[in-house]
Point group: C2
Chain length 253, copies 2
């Protein structure tokens, strides 16, 4: 398919590379900053643009991959005569923000994407929504060409999925950050925690998380909880998180 990439950040980068690999034609890459657009366009054998007045309308797809809060500005700049499918890639934004266009939809990748990290796009779950049969069919076709894990997903389901991913990825990494800082503070290498972190993640391939929950809170070991909280008395921000999660685990019993 012929595609215009609107955005040149982490998500646009990984989509662009996946499109190229599967033989799609990325006709243009847009960024407000021409240098950014140029950097990605060069890698994709594409053309950079820094004004949406120049966006190609003789293509199949406009794929908007910008930060959520930049979507409204991009939409205001896009010409309305486009007859292809306008798509965004946001987990937390309804498809209907695109309803000024005739055919539109969403392809949301359930993966954290950074340019610095390799992503095997064929393994990335892609949540697809279209406003009509044509849009949905075309987007399912496009998504299936770059990933083996494509599924239809309403805007409400997608928000639940995005929020779940925030817990499973963003917040999990924040806990790793705290563990890193706490252990460093006491002269301990973070390498000591790598095996337990990897096993915690591996467990979910075979087990429901609730079935493998361990720790002082789940066995209601108040003495250990108090020892931990006393240890955290100079770190109220860690203690706040400790209390919130422990209270969840205590009540969950």
């Amino acid at each position: 398919m012929d595609i215009v990439l609107i955005g040149s950040g982490h998500v646009a980068y990984h989509f662009g590379r996946a499109f190229l690999r599967e033989g799609h034609n990325v006709k243009q890459v847009y960024s407000r900053t021409l240098g950014h657009a140029q950097g990605l366009a060069d890698q994709l054998g594409s053309v950079s643009i820094a004004s949406l007045d120049n966006v190609a309308i003789d293509v199949d797809i406009w794929l908007i991959a910008v930060q959520d809060n930049a979507i409204p500005t991009v939409l205001e700049g896009l010409p309305l005569e486009f007859r292809g499918v306008v798509v965004h890639t946001s987990g937390a934004t309804t498809a209907s923000v695109l309803d000024r266009f005739g055919t539109y939809g969403v392809i949301y990748p359930v993966q954290s994407m950074r340019k610095e990290t390799e992503v095997d796009f064929s393994q990335v779950p892609l949540a697809v929504e279209g406003n009509d049969t044509f849009a949905e069919g075309l987007l399912l076709q496009l998504a299936s060409s770059i990933s083996g894990h494509v599924f239809r997903c309403s805007s409400e389901q997608r928000l639940a999925l995005h929020l779940s991913a925030v817990f499973a990825n963003n917040f999990t990494n924040a806990l790793f950050d705290i563990a890193y800082k706490l252990s460093s503070e006491y002269g301990l290498s973070f390498d000591l925690l790598v095996p337990i972190i990897l096993q915690t993640a591996e467990n979910i391939k075979k087990h429901v998380p609730a079935d493998v929950q361990t720790g002082p809170a789940v066995r209601n070991d108040q003495a250990t909880i108090n020892r931990h909280l006393d240890f955290l008395k100079n770190h109220p921000e860690y203690a706040g998180i400790y209390n919130a999660i422990s209270n969840y685990l205590l009540k969950r019993k």
Copy 2:
């Protein structure tokens, strides 16, 4: 070495199997419940006891692997004439709780241990502390025979490490549990979150957690945060955790 295992739960099970594999002799397995002791003793070619009056004193090590809150009761039951090294395996308990004995120490495994889950003990970091040169030497020798990742660790460092492991393992799994429940509630398979969870864990092998932090909080995207919190209005316990971790990430910037 000749060892008595005091306890027959998850941690005792994995230590016992590692000792057996490396040619140590587990002379007895103690549990308050004889059937529990018997179950593990059978697997280790050992003898079960349900009374500490019968504990063998002609051995090198008593290894106490019971829940933290059961340690005081066990200590009251143990005869004081033992001349070997008394060891506990708790991350959050000082070595000095054992100071009624002449030589004592700690071997704390930095891994979550459940009987149902295979543990490659040779990869488990073991934090070792002894009250004197003899105890520390013997415990370093024993620990090094079953793991390639042995290090000396004070009681204070061990508490920091245990607490770090609670963040990195127990709390992380609690977040997976919430993600599981949220996605299930909206008819989504937890399998959709497996790739992002595995990548989140893999990242820490190469990156400092703070360097790979993503998500709405770290980019101060209040619109998305508000959308998430609105979505969680029927789940105040999830919202409490969401707020605590988001506030940490927002301030961390």
